[in-house]
Amino acid sequence: MSDKDPALRANAPRLQLHVPEPLFRPGDTPDFSGIKVPAAGSAPRPDTSAPAVDTHPLTTNLVRVLDEQHRAVGPWDPKLDADTLRKILKDMVTVRVFDDRMYRSQRQGKTSFYMKCTGEEAIATATAAALDRDDMHFPTYRQQGLLVARGYPLASMMNQIYSNKGDPLKGRQLPIMYSDKAHGFFSISGNLGTQFPQAVGWAMAAAIKGDSRICMGWIGDGATAEGDFHSALTFAAVYNVPVILAVVNNQWAISSFSGIAGAERATFAQRAVGYGVAGLRVDGNDALAVYAAVQWSAERARTNAGPTLIEFFTYRAEGHSTSDDPSGYRPIDEAKAWPLGDPIERLKAHLLALDEWDEKRHSALTAEADATVRAAQKESEKLGILPQQGKDNVGSMFDDVYSDVPWHIAEQRDAALAEGRD
């Protein structure tokens, strides 16, 4: 035997397992002054055809456009016109109102489940503004903003949430697991991470066919630990795929903070570096920064310059879902202490600073969003709420397992229908 004699390390220290802990637990006073927030405008903007390696400094930095005086500054300023800014603002407000109404609906027993994206509204809505209408998304359950921004009917979303007669998914999916081909919104999966490499596959197909549409895949910070994350990055790098891969780092995965996904050691944007993929770390509560980063990545993809991984740094301001109570694992006021602020307030302040907005218009916008959402809700609830479902059209639950109904499923359908008549 050649190896060294273990006796030689008699004085070696005991090995230790490090188990990451979040900064604060219930009862603590959250204090994020330790979080380094780079100044808006300070991050350089490489050429979209730059080698991936040139983006490395950006993976530990933070692309920010809106400064403390609510001005858009620096090389990443996408220089959007006021109409576009107002459209993003409106979408964000609508999403927030929608979330609140549907959360309430769940609490009222009208459905089984709901998930908000409070505090993260800028990410999906500004992304939608930055891409083309026919680009494709493989979203998670926190990108409802994509559907809202793309004009998918709010009532259709609600119909899905209620699993009612108008539900495009025929009552088959858990609430918020939307899917709509016409709006380039791929079916949300309950299985975390699965959509990420699927997005790469879609973009591979686009490249194989010489298309010009690109694709964007989405994942949460927690879900980056799944093997599917690795598949996505590996295939994207190998085939130089025209895809944008977005990690929404809202710092929580149910009760686990992002350190449990590795955030103590590296940013999620840094993962890109390891694969030779371009990486950007972006203030996710800054709609302009979101827009700019997506625009940059889209141009890169469309010119065959390669994939980009964007980490949107944000904070999950509310519970994971209606099944979750975050006061069990973090201070209740942590969201308020979060230094990157509220995306709606920040964009509003920017428009105000530009003199393209005023409080009256803002109130009107909120009122309008409220009215729109209520109208949609009324329309949707006419088609039913969850507790009334599951009795009609029982036979439909046997459709679409296959293109045709094979004999064994037909037999089961007959049995289910007979059972219904019992």
Binding site: L17, V19, E21, R25, S112, F113, S163, D167, K170, G171, R172, Q173, L174, P175, M177, S189, G190, N191, L192, G193, G222, A223, A225, E226, G227, D228, A253, I254, S255, S256, I260, A261, G262, S323, G328, Y329, L386, Q389, G390, K391, V394, M397, F398, V401, H408, I409, Q412, A415, A416, A418, E419, G420, D422
Partner: protein
């Protein structure tokens, strides 16, 4: 004896085991500080410390894989997969590694570990919070598969599983975590307190793996069930006024074939109830076994009552679940033939 629901009983089993054996470590998604989304591991981190009870990254493959490494080292992992619907990313490690390690190392590296996971529908969880994938594990030689149906059995079986020298997939019927469920979803929920098997002995005891329980004696037919379906079956035969013998399998692998055979030879009729989709579900194996071993005693075909060969549809949960009506029809069929 304290009265416990199934969650409390499982929690207690962890505590009893971990107090007795320093080498037991517990990890999984959200199971540490928070105590798990179903609260089964509540308080464990506080009592046993962060290096024995900790949150894991959202990587079922990584959770199982690191558990393999730990078992190779010689400590005993008891891990949680948050929902059985999410076990598939860990399926390769379970099938290719956990199940085969003792065999391929000629016994040098056994893989004692427990993989706990809530399974089954009935909580409006939709397609990805309702699955019953047990048959996919019963096909894999090297795994034991255990499913309790009461707080008493949950604690005793979990302790037995933790002490077992082989890897155990421990499926927890989430619909009955908080109370037995007779399948009548439109009636008020019964809490466990009303059920005798909520009397859970303090401290250490085990319910042996591989032993079924005859939970109701009878002569007219044999009903084989496990997990939630035990309670649904009991209610159904009661409502039908049948002199049925109901067997709670408790362990699917290794199966208590002797108890099954004895019963079917006596009754001559057999109904098998499972919540999982029909085709290639474990009920098929049971049906084949009963037919092979009791053929000349059978007075009617062995019947299966099952979930459908579709994903578990959110709004149609109760049209999917094999509830009282489906059981009633099947019971009538078995008795009529």
């Amino acid at each position: 004896m304290p009265t416990m629901n199934m969650i409390q009983a499982l929690n207690d089993a962890h505590k009893v085991a971990m107090r007795a054996d320093n080498d037991i470590v517990v990890f999984g998604e959200d199971i540490g500080f928070f105590g798990g989304v179903f609260r089964v591991t509540e308080g464990l981190q506080k009592e046993f410390g962060k290096t024995r009870v900790f949150d894991a990254p959202i990587s079922e493959g990584g959770i199982v894989a690191t558990a393999v490494g730990m078992a190779a080292y010689g400590i005993k992992p008891v891990i949680e997969i948050q929902f059985a619907d999410y076990i598939y990313p860990g399926y390769d490690q379970i099938v290719s590694e956990v199940a085969k390690m003792r065999y391929r190392t000629a016994g040098e590296w056994p893989m004692p570990m427990v993989i706990r996971t809530p399974y089954g529908g009935g909580i409006f969880g939709g397609q990805t919070h309702s699955q019953s994938p047990e048959s996919l594990f019963t096909h894999i030689a090297g795994l034991k598969v255990v499913i309790p149906s009461t707080p008493h059995d949950a604690k005793g079986l979990l302790l037995a599983a933790i002490e077992d020298p082989d890897p155990v997939i421990f499926f927890e019927p989430k619909r009955i975590y908080n109370g037995p469920f007779d399948g009548h979803h439109d009636r008020p929920v019964t809490p466990w307190t009303k059920h005798p098997a909520s009397d859970v002995p303090e401290g250490h005891y085990t319910v042996p793996l591989g032993k079924a329980a005859v939970v109701r004696k009878g002569h007219a037919l044999t009903v084989l069930a496990y997990g939630t379906m035990v309670h649904v079956a009991l209610a159904a035969v009661e409502e039908q006024g049948l002199d049925a013998e109901v067997i709670d399998l408790r362990t699917l692998v290794p199966l208590d074939i002797a108890t099954i055979k004895r019963s079917v030879e006596k009754t001559g009729r057999c109904l098998i109830a499972q919540e999982a989709p029909r085709t290639s579900g474990f009920a098929a194996e049971l049906s084949a076994l009963v037919q092979e071993r009791c053929f000349y005693h059978l007075e009617a075909p062995v019947e299966r009552v099952t979930g459908w060969d579709t994903p578990y549809p959110h709004a149609y949960e109760w049209a999917y679940f094999p509830g009282p009506k489906r059981l009633k029809r099947a019971l009538e069929k078995v008795m009529a033939d």
